[in-house]
Structure formats: C-alpha cells, structure tokens
C-alpha cells in the first residue's frame, strides 16, 4: 500500500507518534521542543485519541523538573507516559531520569537536541544536552531527518515497552525539529503492530497498585546497592537486539530500513567518518559524490548511542577502513575526546586487542556544528581528505576558523554544488510580512500535490521587532537529504526592498537564477533604484529579474502589510515547479486549509491577492551592464570602539560565521552600550515633536519601550552650537527657571510603535488630531531628525542629584541606560526596564532570568544595556531560567561580603588612610544621588591614598573598595520564571530578608517561547497549553510575598498610574530588605494593538483586574503597611477582557465556556478587591525589619 505522505517538521513528526502512543504527557515549554508539547496539547484539546482510543492527558508543569516528576509518577501508576524537552530542560530532568531508568520503567523523552548554555545561552542545536544525560541509564536513539524523527520515535515507544529501558529519542534542534519535509506517515496499524497489548499489560502489571502492594524507591546501604545496580545489566544487554528487531519490523511494514549503525559508502572504504544526527544528511551527499568519483570512503550513522553496541558498530564498519574520523556535535572540555569518539575508540581498540578485528585503524576525533553551525558536504569532504593525509590531525574542529589552538581544518568549498534537478529557492522576508508561513505552505503544496520531495528551513534573526527571516526551500525528485542552508539558489525573492541596502542578498544566487523583488518601482524604472551590488549580480549571473508591488496589492486586497500571499503566488508563477493554473488552485486550497476557520472574508481577501499578484508581476528588461553606485550601507557607523568594529559589525552584517576564534571573548564577557551602533532604522513613521503644544509631562519618554524618544533639560547656553531650527521650549516648572527642554526622537532607533503618541495628552487647540508629538513618515524627516538627535546627544545630561528622580518628570531627566533593544515594537516590559536603568542604572547589578528580557537584553550582536558619561552602567548577567532569584541573591552576598572585608580592612588601615576619611567612609552613607556621589568621591580618595601605601592590605582594600558604595541588586524576569519555574527560589530569596529587588515583568504567559500559559495567566484567557481557556485563576504572587511581612511589594501598571510606578521603584530600592515589584506588561500574546498598550493597562486597572498597591513594611506597631493605589473598579471585567483577543477569542470559539469563566473571573476580581480593601486597614509590624536593617545595612 502506498503510504500517506505528509509535509511536517521534525517536531510534529515525533509528536505525532508520541501522542498516538501515550496516555499522559507532562510538558513544559522550551525552545526548540515547545511545538511538540503544543501540538500534543492541541490534539488532546481537539479530542484526538491515541491509537487505543484514549485522549492523552496533557499537563503543563512548572518546570522540566516538575514534568519529569509527574512523568515518573504517571509511569509508576501504570500509564504510557512521555514528555518533550531540550537543553537545560533535559538537564532538569536528569535526577528523575536516573530513577526512571533505575526502576526499569518504559518511558520516552523526545528531545529536540539543543546547546546547553555555557559561556552563553544558545537556542540552537547540538548534542551537548543529550550527552550530559548519557549516564542516566536511558537508551539514546538519534534521528537524523524528519522522516526518522517519526520512525525512530515509534522505535523508541515500542522498544521501551519491550526492553523496559526508558528511551531518550533525540534529533537536532532546529535543523530537524523545525525543518519542514515531505515524509511518509506511519500508519496506526503499524503502531499497533509494533506495540502489542501484552507489552502494555506487562507495564500495567508492574505499576503500583494497592491490590498487589509493592514498595519501590527504597533506600539501600553499602551491603546491597551495588549488586542491585548490577541486577539490571541483562536488560541493557538485550536492548540493542530489541531495537534492531523493532527497526526490522518497521522495515518490513514500511520498507524503510534502519540499523543500529548504518553504513553508507564504498564496501572497501579506507576512510570512514562516524557521526550521528542531522549531519548525516550532508555527510551522505558528500560520501555519495566521492564514491562516484572512485574514492574509497564511507560513513557510519549512529542511531543507537546508548547502550553502545560495539558489535553492531564493528559489523557496520568495513574492515578495510584504515582511518576513521569520529565527529561529535558537542564539546567536553578537558576530555581526551568527545563521547562518541571515545566510545568508537574503545570499541575498536577492544576489537583489535581481542582479535575480533585484524587491526586498529587510525581514529581521529572532531567537533562540528555546535549551536547549529552549518555542516556541509564540503566540510565532510575536508574531513575525509584530512584522513587521507599521512598524519591526520588527531583532534580537530570543522566549520570554524580556529586561529588560537589551530584545531580547525581549512574547508575547500569548491566543487560541491548541489544537483541540477533540485529547485533551490531563497526568500528574504520580514518576520511581520508572513513570508515564513507562506513558504511553509508552499512546501506543503508541492509536497502534497506532486511527486516531488520538498524541504523548508527557516532562519530568523534574534530581534523581536523588525526581524528578518530567510527561508530556504528545496524541491526535487528524490528525498532531500541536504541538511544545510542553500548557498546557490536558482530562485531568490526579496520581499522587502530595504534588505537590498543591508545585505548582499544576491550573493546566494546561482548563475541564471530568477530574482523576484517586491518594490513600488515599476519594471521600467526599478533598475536605477538598485544598489550597484545588486545590479552587478544580475548582470554577471545573467539573471531573470521580476518585480511586483506586493505592498500595494496586499493593501488593496485588505491584507495590510502581509505580502506573503502575493509573493507566494509570484514564486509559483515564476518557478514553474507546478503548472501555473494548478499552482494557483493549490495555493487557494492551501489558503482555505490554513485560514478557512477564521472567516470567509479572510479567504476572499487572500484569494483576491492571489489573483492580483499575477496581474502585477512584471519582468524587468536587464541592461547589459551595471551602472549603479554601491548601495549596501555599513553595518555600524564610523568611529565605533574597536571591538564593535571588528566583531559586532561582522555579526550585524550576517558574517559572524567568518569570525575566527581569536575574535571572540574567552569567557562570554562582552562590552555593553552597543545597541547604539546597530542602526536598524526599521520604523516607517517616527514621532516628531511640536514644542509649541508640549506640556512638559515627560510621559512620552517614560513609556517609550525603546528609549528612542527622550527628554533633556538644559541651560540655554547648551544650544550655542545647535543646528538650525533645533526645537526647544522653556521649561515651565518652577523647579528650574530659565531652563530649556527638548523632546527628541532617535530616528534610526525608533521602531515606530506609536506608544508615545498614544499617551501624549497635549493636543493642538486648532487641530485636535495634532498632538505635541505626531507619528509622521520617517522618510520625510530622517535627515533633519538625525542631525537633531546627534546634537541632542551632545547636550550634557542633567545633574541627577538636582532632580526628584521619584517623580515622572524627574525620572525622565535621567539618562536611560537601557536603550534601543530589539524587543517587540511597543513592548510592555521594556518601559519598566528602562525606568529601572534611569533611576539606578549606574549602581546596580542585574540578574536576569532567561526569557524575553534576557533575549532583548543579551542576545548578540548588541546589548541595550548602556553606560553613562562616566562609564558607569548596569552590569548584567543571565544564569538560567529557574535560578534567577538565587543568582541575584548570590550577587548580594558577594557585595555584602566584600563590603564587610572593605570595612574591616579600612578600620585596620585607618592610620594610613586618615581617621577623617575612614570615619566618613564607614559612616551610614545614606540614600540618594548626593550620598552616592559623595561616597564615590571618598572611595576615589581612598584609592588614591592607598596607592602609596606599602602594605599588602592596601592592595586588598583597593580591590574591594568599590563595595563601600551602595550597589543595588535587581533580579529581573518574567512571570514564567517568578510564578512557575523559579518560584521556589524566589520564595527562598524573599524569605532571606536580604536587600535585593525583584522586578517581575508580568506578561501573564511565557512570552519568549510563544505564549504558553503560566500560573500568572488569568482565568478565561486562552494561551498555548490553555486553548480551552485557562480554567483557574491567576496566582496572587504579591499576596504570597506580603505574607512574610518584611518584603516590600508593589504592584504597578505604568499606563494606569505612572506616578505610582515611579514611586514604587524608588521605594523598592530604598527598602533595606527584599522588594518585589510586579509590573503589568502587555504583550503581543494578549492579542492587542501594542500601540494602545498603555490604554489597556489603564483599563486593566479600572476594571479591578490589576489593582495597584504598595505594601511597605513598617516598624511601627500601629503602622498600616498596605496602600491600595487604584480606585474602586469602574468598569466590568468583561469590558476590559473583550478588548483583548486572548479573552475575546474564547468568547467567539466557545461562548458558554467563556461566559462561565468570565463570571468566575469577575468573582475573582470582586473577591480580591474586597480582600485588598480590608488589607488597607490592617495594622502590622514588619517583625524583623529593624533586625534585618541592622544585618544587611552597609
């Protein structure tokens, strides 16, 4: 029977099998494995059963540790249980994995293998996570393609029940997990055939049951533990055979054959590489071609890594092999070699020693592909060529240039072109224009409508606003094994003309390729608007060139800026992969399938766009020669710091792969204040200030998520060198008479979100739509605003000590030390982070939980964390997701310890330092700008005096002297961290009484991984993992913290009450014990127009959904620590909720459920309000506040 072909990605391929074979899945989101859990959850939500008819129970846990615990329990009670994870998530499961394996419990963990964070976090793929879990006793099965991700998933589910050994089934994160490919779907009959009922019955029988009570999980002593550990050996001995049998069964039923170690290449190969995972695809292509050229080479693909079946390896590896290169996609610093290498060496050495193999080939070990580094046939060819040398490098890397330890092989990239019969198309798109979605559809269309095989792989940049995507699509007559990016495309589409000046987009074009450009220039005029580099490619490569004004067509069809349908149609029209009529019909069918549920108008508009696209497509008559000027802009301005020039600029222009090892920091330490050099200029419109209308309220600057609109106060002399018409107005406040002020936009850093204009209260008396700032077309104002911005930066920052920083206006006179982040346009989190940086940025350490804030804060190439004129600024670090509170507490402990050391040494050295300075340094320095400045000055004097003191203590004191100045610790993270995975640690840190400040950026979902529900998600909202509407209420984190009595707690929403927000920040910093700020942070996951996010915040407060309060512990016996800062709710919760898609979608999809949950949510609000009103009256003493103050005071 011909199999059903589907076009899916690796995650879906594996999740399909897992869902069909499971009864319980305990899940937790982590990139790149999240889609597996999301799909499983969605399928169960839709009532899709497993192959035995039960709808699997999917439960989201608070962490991967929790998921593993729940899995363990579910297994113990007899359910077929699986989970999905990656990277640090897998590491959190390790303790349970030892238990599950130790108890010989059938289970499967599907892993989208991802880099473990070391010197840096990386979301991309390698085997460092699975290798870190290799000693748990789990079997390890590696898939190297999307097809295998499905087939071997089934092998894992079947073999675990047969063998009782739990399985870790892994495939490469992104390269396989996110590659869309046409595969043959495994049939339910095949699944049922591989998992007979008796195996399940055995599993059930072994489960805990009061009807046959047993004890599992004992504690054992030295007398028996060892023996008991050895008792499981036979199960591991039997496992390879069981896996091979299961693979054979699949082969019998599907024709797809797998071996524990698959060999490919010349039967008499002399040079062989051994590897596992997606690199096998590239390796197979290289080996095929070399064998065709007559070279005696081959490769071994490892499928079962644990238990390591040495016999099977020896059978697979031809005896003729004299040189073997083992490639590991992981790094184990300090080891003699990486894990696969070591196992292969051991197997061969033992075989040689026992005579099972005539001799020992030379075996070398290499690393490749860390963090999804490209791995291509050329690299495989290079490794095989290295093996041909008399003395190949024993240890090497491939794919990078290592100019430090000189381990890397030089790759010869010539001669590795892909076969001609494969259509290779590359699309440059904006994240927001839908290019990726349309291309996924195109892969499906071709995969499912033709006999061709299809593959799609998508590359994203790290920005959340104005991001780029590059889609790599292949179509060909054979299954596509190319597991690397296209570097010679025969079709290139540029979906945004702005790219042409930022990257050499046609560098990827093959000779004779077709180029499609979305531009408003018609075919007869476009040429003169192309950068010279683009013209040269077109002419030199004899390309066919087409244009279409997709923006116009999409706009006229009512689709706004989503040009994907238009350009997808043009691709089909030009590529000829399908006959045009057939292609159009298929596109429309795909549109119907994708968007059909959303409404007829969505279809009509997309259909209209398809039809109009063909009309608008024009061929350009290409001149014989290029005549344009160079148009690709430099990645960074001139006069940047050396590091930015050498390293950052390369990364910005997409050439980070070319950086050698020596260019990178050895320990992951990077300079801050670099976002200012990455002029992305992504806004279409920017705010332009009208000083005549402005009322000096500073709200625009406060709410700007990107620090791209700022206020400065200055004396008139500062304008001496101002450019013509530099706008300024007299400061109206009585605090600074005779001062001027300016509101200025950073035109190349603004993302055009419009939040500033939305909040601006000052309207023209003559024309109400004209505000003190208006969003106006950037193109018309860019040059002028650039000039003004450059001058604005030269105006000195206002004296911080002279202003009330705890006021809205005062706070905005302080320089933002968090600027121009790549957060979403209109982000709800970053205004708080920026405010934090303005109030205390020059004196804080930031511990940042993994999540959105760590990505926009610390994802290369640049960081928004900045420095002031004195070179001071926040020092920032990200440890993990789950440990951030503890990480920050550790910083506090270190600072306090160094402060203690400094004071001790200072007292000891008082004679040399001088009694007056010593006393001043040791006295209570107080709080506030002046106090800090004074202490800094004293510390500077101290260091000066110590310079000349010949005493070892002088050096010691100098090293810790800065700790005499109060340094704050801010622990920043999202709700996923604070409410879920990091809650235990957060609770402990709050309980510690130490002086740390916690800022929770509460978006009410896991924003960074795509909007999964957390315990901060409100009742009645939909979110991933809560598609039916979250049935339970939001956890009241503030109330939990208040229970301690000595924790300062502030719940804030900037858009509702700016003054309260600023005050809460200031009070939190002043509070000598732990502080917790919970900041309402609208997010695109709420389904709102982010431009209006401040209005949403206001409504959230007006409805009582997000009450504002401050709990300031007091020492008085009759003190009232709780202050409710918002007014009695004035609008029903429904009115607020229905303005946000997260609530409104449920009201549409399931009105009854929505009504029920909205009623409950209103009841939650009413009850909470009642409670908070009563809280206002409570009298409470912060029991140990004074003691804490004493203990923690510097």
């Amino acid at each position: 029977m011909k199999p059903e072909f589907v076009t899916v990605d690796g995650n879906e391929a594996a999740a399909h099998v897992a869902h069909r074979c499971s009864e319980v899945c305990a899940i937790y989101p982590i990139t790149p494995a999240s889609p597996m859990g999301e799909l499983a959850d969605a399928w169960s939500q839709h009532g899709r059963p497993n192959v035995w008819g039960t709808v699997p129970e999917i439960i989201e846990m608070q962490s991967e540790g929790g998921a593993a615990g729940a899995m363990h329990g579910s297994l113990q009670a007899g359910a077929l249980t699986s989970t999905f994870t990656a990277s640090q998530g897998l590491l959190l499961m390790i303790p349970n994995m030892f238990k599950i394996a130790g108890e010989l419990t059938p289970a499967v963990i599907h892993v989208a293998a991802r880099t473990v964070a070391t010197h840096a976090l990386s979301i991309f793929g390698d085997h460092s996570d699975v290798m870190a879990a290799r000693s748990t006793g789990f079997a390890m099965l590696a898939s190297s393609s999307v097809q295998e991700a499905q087939d071997l998933a089934l092998v894992a589910h079947a073999a675990t029940l047969r063998s009782r050994v739990p399985f870790m089934h892994f495939f490469d994160g992104f390269r396989t997990s996110h590659e869309v490919a046409k595969i043959a779907r495994i049939a339910d009959d095949d699944i049922l055939a591989l998992i007979p009922d008796d195996l399940i019955a055995d599993h059930r029988f072994r489960a805990l049951s009061p009807n046959r009570p047993a004890l599992r999980g004992t504690a054992q002593n030295p007398d028996v533990f060892f023996q008991a550990r050895e008792a499981a050996n036979p199960f591991y001995d039997a496992l390879p055979g069981i896996v091979q049998e299961t693979m054979d069964q699949i082969a019998e039923r599907t024709g797809r054959s797998y071996r524990l170690f698959d060999y490919l290449g010349a039967p008499d190969a002399e040079r062989v590489i051994v590897l596992m995972g997606s690199g096998a695809g590239a390796a197979a292509e290289a080996v095929d071609r070399l064998v065709a050229r007559g070279e005696k080479v081959g490769m071994v693909v490892v499928r079962l890594f644990r238990p390591f079946a040495a016999d099977a390896l020896l059978s697979a590896l031809p005896e003729s092999a004299v040189a073997v290169a083992v490639l590991d996609r992981t790094k184990e610093p300090g080891a003699l070699g990486e894990p696969l290498y070591q196992d292969v060496v051991t197997a061969l050495a033992e075989a040689a020693a026992t005579g099972a193999r005539p001799g020992m080939p030379r075996v070398v070990g290499g690393r490749y592909g860390l963090s999804s580094k490209e791995f291509t046939p050329a690299m495989v060819g290079t490794v095989l060529a290295e093996l041909a040398r008399p003395l190949p490098q024993p240890r090497f890397t491939v794919g990078i240039t290592d100019d430090v330890t000189r381990l890397s092989l030089d790759v010869d990239r010539d001669g590795w072109s892909e076969p001609d019969d494969v259509v290779r198309a590359v699309f440059y798109g904006l994240g927001s224009d839908g290019t990726v979605g349309a291309n996924k559809n195109s892969v499906k269309i071709i995969g499912e409508h033709t006999d061709l095989y299809a593959q799609g792989y998508f590359v994203y940049d790290s920005k959340k606003s104005g991001s780029w995507t590059v889609s790599h699509l292949r179509f060909g007559p054979r299954p596509i094994t190319a597991t690397y990016l296209i570097d010679e495309a025969n079709f290139v589409a540029c979906h945004n003309p702005g790219f042409l000046t930022k990257q050499d987009v046609l560098a990827v074009a093959a000779p004779g390729a077709t180029f499609l450009l979305n531009t408003h220039h018609p075919a007869d005029a476009v040429w003169d608007h192309l950068p010279g580099e683009v013209q040269e490619h077109i002419v030199a490569k004899d390309m066919e060139f087409y244009v279409v004004d997709a923006y116009k067509i999409a706009r006229e069809a009512g689709l706004g800026g989503r040009v994907n349908t238009v350009l997808q149609t043009c691709f089909f029209a030009l590529s000829g992969v399908l006959p045009r009529e057939e292609a159009i019909a298929a596109i429309k069918t795909a549109i119907e399938k994708t968007y059909g549920k959303r409404g007829a108008v969505v279809l009509q508009r997309n259909f209209a766009a398809v039809d109009a696209a063909l009309v608008g497509l024009e061929q350009v008559k290409v001149p014989v020669a290029a005549d344009g000027r160079s148009g690709i802009l430099p990645p960074v301005p001139e006069d940047v710091p050396d590091f930015v020039d050498r390293v950052t600029a390369m990364i910005i222009k997409g050439q980070g792969d070319l950086l050698p090892v020596s260019a990178l920091p050895v320990d992951g330490t990077f300079p801050t204040a670099t976002a200012q050099y990455e002029k992305r200029s992504i806004a279409e419109e920017i705010p332009i200030w009208d000083p005549d209308i402005c009322i000096d309220c500073a709200r625009c600057a406060l709410v700007c998520p990107h620090a791209a609109i700022r206020m400065k106060l200055y004396e008139p002399e500062a304008l001496a060198l101002a450019p013509h018409y530099f706008p300024a107005r007299e400061w109206k406040g009585k605090d600074f008479p005779d001062h001027l002020m300016t509101i200025q936009v950073a035109p190349d850093d603004c993302t055009g979100c419009g939040v500033c204009v939305d909040i601006c209260p000052a309207k023209s008396k003559e024309m109400a739509r004209h505000k003190a700032i208006d969003m106006l077309p950037k193109a018309e104002h860019l040059e002028q605003e650039r000039e003004r911005w450059d001058f604005f930066l030269t105006i000195p920052e206002f004296d911080r000590a002279a202003v009330r920083l705890d006021t809205v206006k005062g706070s905005q006179m302080a320089q933002p030390l968090f600027e121009f982040s790549g957060a979403c346009s209109g982000c709800g989190e970053t205004p708080y982070v920026k405010l934090l940086s303005q109030l205390f940025g020059d004196r804080i350490l930031v511990a940042n939980a993994t999540g959105c804030s760590s990505i926009y804060g610390g994802n290369l190439p640049t960081t928004p964390w900045a420095v002031d004129a004195a070179g001071r600024g926040p020092a920032w670090s990200n440890s993990l997701f789950e440990d951030n509170a503890e990480f920050g507490l550790g910083m506090r402990l270190a600072l306090d310890s160094m402060g203690e050391t400094a004071r001790r040494l200072l007292e000891k050295m008082a004679p040399q330092v001088g009694s007056e300075l010593t006393a001043a340094l040791l006295a209570d320095q107080g709080i506030g700008e002046a106090a800090i400045a004074a202490q800094r000055e004293r510390v500077a004097r101290l260091k000066g005096r110590l310079k000349d003191v010949d005493d070892p203590d002088a050096g010691r004191l100098t090293a810790v002297a800065d700790a005499l100045v109060r340094t704050g610790v801010w622990i920043v993270g999202g709700d996923g961290w604070a409410y879920d995975i990091g809650f235990g640690g957060l609770d402990h840190v709050l309980a510690s009484g130490r002086d740390v400040n916690v800022l929770v950026l509460d978006t009410e979902v896991y924003s960074n991984t795509g909007g999964q529900a957390s315990k901060a998600t409100p009742r009645a909202a939909v979110a991933k993992f809560a598609a039916g509407g979250k049935p339970t209420g939001k956890k009241d984190l503030g109330m939990i913290a208040m229970a301690y009595g000595n924790v300062y707690v502030g719940q804030v929403a900037m858009g509702a009450n700016m003054t309260q927000t600023v005050k809460a920040f200031a009070e939190a910093e002043k509070h000598p014990g732990p502080s917790l700020l919970i900041a309402y942070s609208p997010c695109i996951a709420h389904g709102i127009d982010m431009e209006r996010q401040m209005t949403h915040q206001k409504q959230a407060v007006e409805s009582g959904y997000w009450p504002l309060y401050r709990y300031a512990p007091v020492a008085d016996d009759d003190g009232h620590p709780f202050r409710l800062d918002s007014r009695t709710p004035t609008i029903p919760f429904r009115d607020f909720a229905m303005s946000e898609a997260r609530f409104a979608m449920l009201a549409r999809a399931n009105p009854e459920q929505s009504e029920r949950l909205l009623d409950l949510a209103q009841a939650d609000i009413d009850e909470r309000w009642r409670l908070y009103e009563q809280m206002e009256d409570i009298e409470r003493t912060a029991g140990d506040l004074e003691r804490d103050e004493e203990e923690v005071a510097l």
Binding site: T31, S34, P35, E38, A42, Q45, H46, I123, F174, H178, G431, S432, G434, V436, G437, K440, F458, Y460, K464, S467, T469, G558, G560, R562, Y595, K597, R598, G599, A600, V601, V602, R605, K763, A768, C824, V1005, S1007, N1008, T1009, G1010, G1011, V1022, A1023, K1024, F1025, A1026, A1027, C1083, I1084, A1085, G1087, A1141, R1142, A1144, M1145, L1146, R1148, A1149, N1150, P1151
Partner: protein
C-alpha cells in the same frame, strides 16, 4: 367594548401594533419570551452586521498571524489555534432558529450589509433560518462630497432590488430621514421591492469627550420628543405609498403609539422605553393604547389607523412647513 388591536404589517397579521425593535432585549431568548408574554406582537432581532463579521474575522486573522513566523522561539505565533472562531453569521442564524423555537409571534431578522454579495447571502441565510420577515437596516452616511444625491439613492434602490430578488419573505427597509424628497424616495423604495418602510433609522451619532477631546460615538436612549419627525413622515406617507409603515424612534408611551397609529403607522416599534422600563412595559403601553382608543370610541386599530394622516387630516398643511410658521405665530401672538 373591547377594542380590536390587530393590525397587518408586511402581510403578517399581528395581534396588536406594538413591535419591539432591535435591541439587546431581542438578542436574548429569555427577554424575548418576556416581551412576548407582555404582549409584543412581533419583534425585530438585533442586526446582523456584515462589517462586524468581516472585522471580527480579520481581527482573529491578525491576532493569530501577529508574531507567527517572526522569531525562532515562537515561530508558531502567540495565540493557540482554536477549533472554530465562529466569526461568520452562524451565531446570528442560530439566534433566529432559537427565537423561532421559543416564540409564537413573528420574528423579523434585521440585516446590515456592506457588499452586494453580503446583503444577498445573509438575507438568504436569514430566510433559510426561518425568519418571518427581513428588515434591511440601511446605514450609510453620505460623507463623500463627490457623491451625488442621485448616486446615493440609486445605491439604496439597487440594494433593495437585489435583496428582493434573493428572498421571498416580506422585506422592510429601514432608512434615515435625510433625503431631499423623502416621499419620492419612499415610493421608489417600494417600487424596488420593499413591502414596508421603517421610519426611521437612528444612527449612532458622534460625541466629543471634553476631557480627552476625543470623538466618541455614543448611543443615547431616545425620548418622546424624537417621535415627532417620525410622526410627520408617517402621516405624509400614509396612503401615498403602497407599503406597510412602521414607526420607530421615540415611542415611549401608549399615547405615543396612539399618535403614530392615528398618523398611519401599521406598527409602532419600541426599544429605548423597553430598555429603560423592562420588557413588561409592553403591557403598560398596550393597556394605555387600548384604553385611549376605547375611551375615545374607536372600535379597532384599523379604524384609527391613518385617521390623522396628512390625507385624512383636517389640516394637511400642519404636517408641512406651516407647522413651523404657526408655532412662531402662536408664540408672537401669545
């Protein structure tokens, strides 16, 4: 003597001339039941707005597409896919079915379209769902100065003709009063296929928020005074167009209803007063209507209907400009 309150509207024989018009009360089966129990003779369901349906579908689309394929860690977007978004007309059609199942009185569906295809499609669907009649709620503010009065009127007439062709149930057309020649236009609407005219549409009118200086559309409940415009045109059109006449806007009491019947209305439609006083207020109005007719010796609504229309009035000019003049004259004389 018992007054015979029955009346015919759009060819439907109704027990009395009181018809609750589209409002939240007719959007809920329970309140519709209460309206019927209180004596409502028929009712008009809230409007199916094509624009709203389109807007909701596009909102769902944008909400799901925002952020999708944007960023590696959230490539699938930020909101979950649902089984069904119910963005189409189905909920409205289900409401027609529920109303028909729950009520014995005629149910009139109301429709506001934006495209010709939309008008005809949804009209047909309303008919198929069981509506006894259809009211076209034509809402168009001719703000474009380049558009002539003739073009505006032609647009209405084509629309009515198109829907007329699409359905066989009775068709009422609800329009606003702002036509240069209301009488002529009313007649043309009837010629185009309207079985009845509903006078008049009450647009959402803009308001200005003096705190924020925002323009905020605002619907305030009507008052009795607003009934006068309706009264005038009901009286003028009665007997001059071959169609049923429904008077709506400003009907707040039995006496208001009496006046409209006297002017020539086949039915008086109510919403604001019912929202203010509750569905049971229908009984109060009906009782008052019946009492007045009885007290003044009328045997039936039919007898009274149109007895003070312009054609039947002893002072026809009172419904035209002279009304204004006399008021001034009376004032100066007084």
């Amino acid at each position: 003597m018992t007054v015979n309150l029955s009346t015919d509207y759009l060819g439907l024989h109704l027990a009395n001339p009181l018809v609750p018009s589209a409002s939240p009360l007719t959007g809920n089966v329970d309140t519709m039941r209460r309206l019927e129990a209180a004596g409502a003779a028929a009712l008009v369901l809230p409007s199916l707005f094509e624009e709203q349906i389109e807007h909701e579908a596009m909102q769902v689309h944008y909400a799901l597409e925002t952020g999708a394929g944007h960023y590696a860690e959230a490539a699938g977007g930020y909101l979950p896919e649902m089984d069904d978004y119910n963005t189409g007309p189905q909920r409205y059609l289900d409401h027609i079915v529920a109303a028909k199942a729950a009520l014995g009185i005629p149910v009139i569906a109301s429709l506001n379209g934006t495209s010709r295809g939309g008008w005809t499609l949804y009209a047909r669907l309303c008919e198929e769902a069981g509506a006894d009649a259809l009211e076209l709620n034509v809402y168009f503010v001719a703000a474009n100065p380049d558009m002539t009065a003739n073009q505006v009127e032609m647009q209405y007439l084509e629309l009515v003709a198109t829907v007329r062709d699409a359905v066989s149930i009775p068709l009422a057309v609800k329009v606003g009063p702002y036509f240069s020649s209301m009488g002529n236009f009313a007649r043309q609407l009837v010629m185009a296929g309207a079985d009845g005219l509903v006078l008049f549409n009450r647009f959402y009118q803009p308001d200005i928020d003096l705190d924020t200086l925002d323009v905020a559309p605002n619907l305030v409940l009507s008052s009795s005074a607003e009934m006068r415009l309706v009264l005038r045109w009901t009286a003028i059109l009665k007997g001059r167009v071959d169609a049923s006449l429904a008077a709506t806007t400003g009907v707040h009491s039995g006496h208001d209803a009496v006046k409209l019947v006297l002017a020539g209305a086949d039915v008086a439609m109510m919403a604001s007063a019912l929202l203010r006083h509750g569905p049971e207020y229908v009984t109060t109005v009906l009782d008052s209507l019946a009492s007045w007719l009885d007290d003044h010796g009328y045997a039936s609504v039919d007898q009274a209907k149109g007895s003070l229309s312009q054609q039947s009035s002893p002072d026809p000019a009172a419904f035209e400009r002279s009304n204004y003049m006399r008021a001034l004259t009376t004032y100066s004389a007084g």
